[in-house]
Every structure is written in C-alpha cells, then in structure tokens.
C-alpha cells in the first residue's frame, strides 16, 4: 500500500501560530518579585502531571487527532 494523496496543510494552523508568536514581543519583562501570583496553586500548569498524562493518553486513543500539551504525536500503542 502506498499513500496517494499529497499532504494538505490546514491554513488555520498558520493563523493560530502567527497569533501565538505575535504575543511574545508585546510582553514586557516581568521581574521575579512581580511573579507572586503565578506561584499560586491555581496557576500551576503541572500540578498533577500524572492526571494529565492519563487523560491525554485516553483522548489520544479515542480521537483521530493526537499531539498536544504533554503528549506524544503518536505511536507507542497498538491503535492507529
């Protein structure tokens, strides 16, 4: 079997990436002493990495899409 179709790049990907990249230069330096709010428990991205790992593994196995935050882009399982 061989793949017949050329790869199609979704234009929405480019738009989102451009928006995300444009955020960076617009942000001023935040000093260490101004980062107190970011240390609150409610602001932690990885408060429980095992929970997010479990959930993303499940979503990867039940959806056609894969990849994302803390997740592999595919492989390592018997599913397609």
């Amino acid at each position: 079997m061989s793949l017949k179709r050329p790869f199609r790049f979704c234009p929405r990907l480019g738009v989102v990436f451009a928006l995300a990249a444009s955020m960076l230069p617009s942000c001023a330096q935040v000093e260490f002493y101004d980062r107190g709010a970011l240390a609150n428990p409610a602001m932690q991205f990885e408060s429980d990495r095992t929970e997010s790992h479990f959930q993303q593994k499940v979503f990867q196995s039940i959806e056609g899409a894969s990849g994302g935050m803390g997740n592999t882009g595919g492989g390592g399982c018997g599913c397609s």
Binding site: S2, L13, M23, S47, G64, G67, G68, G76, C77
Partner: protein, 386 residues
C-alpha cells in the same frame, strides 16, 4: 454501574496503598532519602455503547472499560541528575466484538492487559538548561513497542521564557491477529515526532505555553482486528441502502502505510484574583489522511483553602472523518477502507471536575460524542513528596 464499581475499587486501592506507603516511609527513614516524590494513581475509563451496539459504528459492539493502576516516582541520582519512572498496567475489558453474521469474537480483546514502563533522565547541565532522555516499553497481547526520546529546554530572559525541543521515536512490532482470530504474521510500525514548545510569562497575572508537533508514521497503520463491510462482488447496485448489509461481506480494515500528522496547541492561564484563575486552551490538528481536529478548552481554577484547588473544565472537540472512513458499506473496489468510529466525523463535549487537596488529586470527566459513543473518565492519585 460498571464504572461505579471501578471508581469504588480505585478509591479503595489508592487508600490502602496510601496507608501502606505512609507506614513504609515512617519505618524506613533513609530508604526514601533520594526520592523526590512517589505517586500512586488509579485511572479508569469506560465507553458506553448501546446494548444492541447501535451507538458509534452500528456494525460493532464498542463497549469498553479500562482500569489503570500506575506508580510514578522521581528519584534524585545526583544534584544535577533526576530519574523519573512511570509504570502502568491497563486492564481492558471490552465487549466481545461480535461481527455481523457469523463472524467470530474479536480475538483477545474481551480481556487484555497493557503494560507500560517509561524511564526519563533529566540532566541540568547549566542553571538554565535541562536535557531530557526517555526510554519506554509497552506491550499488549498483540504488540510490543519501544520508545526513545531526547529533548532540551532552555530558560531565557531570566526565566520569563522557556523554549524546549523534543524528538521521540516509537518502534512497534504487531502481531496481525484479525477479527476472526486468524494470525496474519507480524508487521512493524514506526513513529517519529518533533515537538517544539514555548512557555512565556506574559505579565504578572498571566502565563502561557504553546507549541507545534509534527509526527510521521510508517508501516502497518491499520488496526489488525478492525473489520469493514464492503459490497459483495457482482451484487446489483439497486440492492443497496445506507446500512444495507444484505449482500455485504466482511474484510479487514485497509489504511495507507504512512501518515503525517501535525498539531498546534497552546493554553493561557490568567489569575483574576488571588484564589481564582481561568485558562483557555486549544489545539488544531491536521493529517494527510484527511482528519482535521479542532479543540477549545476553557477551565476555571478556584482555591478553596490551603492547598485545595477545584478545577472545572469544558472541552469542545470537532473532527472531520478520514478520507478512508465510511459508515456505509464500501465498494469492493475501494483501495482503503475503515469503519473505525474514532476516525469518523463527530463532535464531542467534555465536562469535568477535578479536586486537589494537598497531595491528593481526583478528577471526573464525562465525554459526549455526536455519534453517541460516550465516555466516562475517573482518576485518583496520592503523591508523597520528600
């Protein structure tokens, strides 16, 4: 009901393990000196098909229940070296997939055990640079997979921005066991991923992370035990209806032997008050099988007390079907065919609640899909930090 029993067992197991670990830790001071943390987690999820299997793919009974105990620990090897280990076992119970007509049960899938073991090594080469190396093994009755990965993350501008780059590869060997139980030998599949990610502090109240992931897969990418129904050669066109199986014959799923997948993802969390934060996350996915997926995920985090956080989330996910998917009977001349519901065209809504109290975490999520294949997820975990 089935998941209710799993949830009860999950709480019981983690509770008993918690008591045991606490006793070990107190009795063996020194034994755990080099451990940074140990987590015991029990996760479970279930997929609900109708009793007659009419949800999702009406050809198949897709009921599924998975229970996954796991132990995760971080072990300090040296000041600048950290070992992380994740050991998980999945106990899978799925309805025997009785195929249309006289097809036999799906081989091995009515009860299956998955074992996954992942090691990670983190080396902090400089105060602002960390290298990661990973090795993993996973296996079930019909496949074995070895995973290798490496990555680097770099702090820049005084920790305000962190960028990371990760490459990983998975090398799977599959036993091609068909729905009938026929063993078609073995085949291979390899997957390579490149993920670039950036974390950035936007202002004193907000930070964000976003990234890009590209994956290329090659080899045997079909699911060996998935069947499809196609037109019996020579059957008249006028005999067909949407779900017309009168003259259908069952065959094996056929999918291309390569796939290029990419996704853009990101999330931004904003602290509205000292005890209240909101997050908006999302992902855009596209691959050359024709699947495009878009998800948006708002979350709300509320601190209820000392180290107690309540998390509410909603996730909207919309995907288009793979070009090779059909919920109708295929033509007998189709080159590629799949009737796997997970590659179909549907929308899902997930609502979830999570609660963190000290070292305890619990989460419950319910997923509704437009093809009626709904899922319930639950996990509970206890972490010891040293």
């Amino acid at each position: 009901m089935l998941l209710g029993r799993h949830i009860f067992k999950a709480c019981l197991v983690v509770g008993v393990a918690s008591i045991s670990m606490t006793q070990v830790a107190s009795a063996q001071e020194g034994l755990l000196d080099n451990f940074e943390s140990i987590t015991i987690r029990l996760g479970t999820y279930a997929r609900d098909d109708a009793s007659d299997g009419s949800k999702g793919n009406p050809f198949l009974d897709e009921d599924l229940a998975v229970v996954q105990p796991a132990i995760v620990f971080d072990y300090r090897l040296a000041d600048d070296w950290l070992l992380t280990t994740d050991f998980a076992i999945d106990r899978v119970s799925s309805a025997s997939v009785e195929r249309f007509g006289s097809r036999g049960n799906q081989s091995g899938a009515s009860g299956d055990v998955y074992i996954g073991l992942d090691f990670g090594l983190q080396w902090q080469s400089t105060p602002d640079r960390i290298w990661n190396y990973t090795f993993g093994y996973s296996g079930e009755y019909d496949y074995k997979s070895i995973g290798l990965g490496a990555g680097v993350s770099q702090d820049i501008s005084g920790g305000q921005t962190q960028i990371s780059l990760t490459v990983s590869g998975y090398f799977d060997q599959l036993d091609v066991i068909r729905a009938t139980g026929l063993d078609d030998g073995s085949d291979n599949r390899s997957s390579f991923s490149l993920t670039a990610k950036a974390y950035h502090i936007l202002n004193p109240q907000a930070h964000a992370e976003f990234g890009l992931s590209i994956t290329t897969q090659s080899g045997f990418l079909s699911t060996p035990y998935n069947s499809v129904f196609f037109r019996e050669p020579g059957a008249g066109e006028d005999e067909w209806t949407d779900w017309g199986l009168a003259n259908a014959v069952a065959g094996d799923e056929l999918l291309p032997d390569s796939r290029l997948r990419n996704s853009l993802f990101g999330r931004l969390r904003w602290s509205l008050k000292e005890d209240l934060a909101v997050e908006l996350g999302g992902r855009i996915y596209s691959d050359d099988w024709g699947v495009q997926g878009l998800s948006l995920e708002p979350r709300l985090y509320l601190e209820l007390g000392d180290a107690q956080v309540l998390r509410l989330r909603y996730r909207w996910y919309d995907q288009t079907a793979a070009d090779y998917f059909s919920d109708l009977v295929f033509s007998d001349t189709a080159e590629f065919m799949t009737q796997d519901s997970d590659l179909g065209d549907w929308v899902s809504h997930t609502v979830g609640v999570g609660f963190e109290s000290g070292d305890w975490h619990a989460a419950l999520d319910y997923v509704t899909r437009s093809d009626d294949l709904n899922h319930l997820l639950f996990s509970v975990a206890k972490t010891w930090k040293f």
